[in-house]
């Protein structure tokens, strides 16, 4: 907020000026915990799907086609008589694996490069930054579509490809955050005390960037879930009959005017999941911004 260069008293910033820009402290609030609980529930259901005694999501039942919600089928059945609730629960696995898996790949590689580049600057930074620019200029979706189309679309390949495609964006975000810390005096102080580069990156810079990374991670997961859905619509996600939210919404289009439930439940599942992720990510970020203002 203030330039460190002016030889003025710093303390008024903490005491007086922060008052002039008084913003009320935002606690995490109820919504945050509801959303966190919702995500935990989705993860739990997806993990335990096979032991919960749900109906088999791929078993077709021609006695009950295109039904609305009933006691036997909470979310109704689809055009092949499959239980939609069970398909939504199993479908969550795809979104979770692709979403979290891809972001773990992007984050671990992108953030490592970013921390290194931000701290060392110089040639490494120049090289990786240039590469990230080139990758960002490339139409990512086209690349992802093409690679998946030619290479094959099983779950792990999709995860890997999206994960790699996300590296440059993660790199840029984390690098920008890390740059602000890499030049701080406490980093210089650690250096003069003989700290190794590894120590400076992991002990001095990383803890400061971590909250921003967590927040970006969650919002990134939401974007990847959307991307997986889009791929499903293009017929490039996991193949039927394996359920995924995207597949289910896409398939629902054929019978949409007769049975809107087909689209409604998987859509709701996806939207609520996305809202929860975004809200948690956003809350963390503004909590972080607030803290930042205090430091």
């Amino acid at each position: 907020m203030s330039s460190a260069s002016s030889p003025r008293a710093q303390e008024p910033l903490l005491v007086e000026e922060s008052l002039l820009n008084a913003t009320r402290r935002r606690a995490f609030g109820v919504m945050f915990w509801i959303c966190a609980g919702w995500i935990a529930l989705v993860v739990l259901l997806a993990l335990l799907a096979s032991v919960l005694g749900l109906q088999n999501p791929t078993t077709e039942n021609y006695d009950s086609l295109n039904q609305g919600p009933t006691l036997a089928h909470w979310f109704g059945t689809d055009d092949l008589g499959r239980d939609i609730f069970s398909r939504v629960v199993y479908g969550a696995r795809v979104s979770l694996i692709v979403g979290f898996g891809a972001m773990v790949i992007s984050m671990s590689i992108g953030a490592s490069l970013a921390l290194l580049a931000a701290y060392r600057r110089g040639k490494i930074d120049l090289l990786v930054s240039a590469a990230s620019y080139v990758m960002l200029a490339f139409p990512a979706l086209v690349a992802v579509i093409a690679i998946i189309a030619f290479w094959g679309h099983d779950l792990w390949k999709i995860t890997l490809i999206i994960g790699v495609a996300g590296i440059p964006l993660v790199f840029r975000v984390v690098r920008a955050a890390a740059l602000g810390y890499a030049t701080r005096d406490f980093v210089v102080a650690a250096k003069t005390q003989g700290a190794s580069d590894w120590r400076i990156i992991t002990k001095e810079i990383l803890p400061n960037v971590l909250p921003a990374m967590v927040s970006f991670f969650l919002i990134g997961v939401a974007s990847v879930v959307i991307l997986e859905g889009a791929l499903a619509f293009l017929g490039l996600s996991v193949q039927p009959p394996t359920p995924s939210w995207g597949n289910m919404i896409s398939e629902s289009r054929t019978y949409l005017s007769q049975n809107p439930w087909l689209a409604l439940f998987p859509s709701l599942a996806m939207i609520l999941f996305l809202i929860a992720l975004n809200l948690i990510g956003d809350t963390l970020r503004s909590a972080l911004d607030h803290q930042e203002g205090k430091l």
């Binding site: 030889p7 303390e11 650690a190 003989g194 001095e204």
Partner: protein, 324 residues
């Protein structure tokens, strides 16, 4: 090198340039300084004069273009990375911004213990004891401070913690870069007194860099005045302030404000501001603002000449002592 006051840190002909786009910033252009054991050497000058760069180049935090920095018999620039890490422990630095000097996400205990952890010199109870002693020495109550984070402390307290951390490895030299300029006057005095005490107690030598003339005078034995990357005057502290010989030193002293309405002496107000270090003036760098400048000043760069023992000035027309 006389045995009574051996030179501990010696900066010879230091030149530091930065590149700014296609241009070169001449941050430090040929600075030589000697810091003797037990001495406090002040460097005073306005922003952009290169005083901070001298400190950083001494620590090898910025590469110097030429010149040498020798400490305790080692030429720092020639050491390998590994040797430098070890040797540099003998010099520690304290910075201007007390808040930015401490990692906001670490506890005070770990901040102060950092050098111990890096070098694995102490663990467990011994580490704890060293940290406690270090905090005690700077007037911070360890029982209160150890488990807190930096933002819970005021600027002055953060600066004390920085000093505690710097002293953990028992350095011989302390480089203080504007360490009190971010603090309130009353706190500033606390820190300056603390510095004097610690110096006496631990036999420190101090390189004290600041823009505030009165502060520099208070702590320093000898003072170098810098302008645009060069030293224009160098003398004992009291000598310099009572008999400035360089027109810039004179102007600087007369522009300083004193908390006393009757102290409004005949003032020399310089016009303009220091030129851009990308394109410094030829000859004497101060000539563009100097009230006494003549043709010679533009043509010939003045070299430092000793006008009395321990008092040297880089000026073609140094002010004479008669007017006092």
């Amino acid at each position: 090198m006389t045995p009574s006051t051996p030179t501990l840190l010696s900066i010879e002909n230091l030149v530091v340039n930065f590149s700014s786009g296609r241009k070169t910033v001449h941050a430090v252009s040929g600075v030589s300084l000697q810091l003797n054991e037990g001495d406090t050497l002040g460097i005073v000058g306005e922003s952009g004069c290169g005083k901070t760069t001298v400190g950083k180049a001494t620590m090898q935090l910025v590469p110097s273009r030429s010149g040498s920095v020798s400490f305790d018999g080692h030429d720092l620039a020639r050491l390998t990375r590994k040797e430098l890490r070890r040797t540099r422990l003998g010099i520690q630095m304290i910075f201007q911004d007390p808040i930015s000097s401490l990692n906001p996400r670490r506890k005070i205990r770990d901040i102060v213990a950092e050098p111990l952890d890096i070098w694995k010199t102490a663990e467990g109870a011994q580490r704890e004891q060293i940290v406690r002693d270090a905090l005690d020495n700077v007037g911070i109550d360890p029982d209160v401070a150890l488990d807190r984070y930096p933002h819970e402390f005021s600027g002055g307290q953060c600066q004390r913690i920085s000093i505690a951390r710097a002293l953990v490895m028992k350095p011989k030299v302390l480089i203080c870069d504007e360490i009190v300029s971010a603090l309130d006057v009353s706190v500033q005095a606390q820190i300056l007194n603390l510095l004097q005490d610690l110096k006496a107690r631990f036999g420190l030598s101090i390189l004290f860099i600041a823009h505030d003339l009165a502060v520099v005078k208070n702590v320093s034995d000898r003072v170098a005045v810098m302008y645009l990357g060069r030293i224009c005057e160098f003398a004992g502290s009291d000598e310099l302030y009572s008999h400035p010989a360089h027109p810039y030193s004179e102007a600087l002293l007369s522009a300083a404000l004193e908390p006393d309405p009757s102290s409004d002496r005949s003032r020399i107000i310089l016009t303009g501001e220091p030129p851009n270090p990308i394109d410094p003036p030829s000859g004497c760098r101060f000539r563009t603002r100097c009230p006494y400048a003549q043709d010679r000043c533009a043509e010939e760069e003045p070299v430092a000449q000793e006008i009395s023992p321990g008092h040297s000035v880089a000026c073609h027309f140094p002010l004479l002592r008669t007017n006092s």
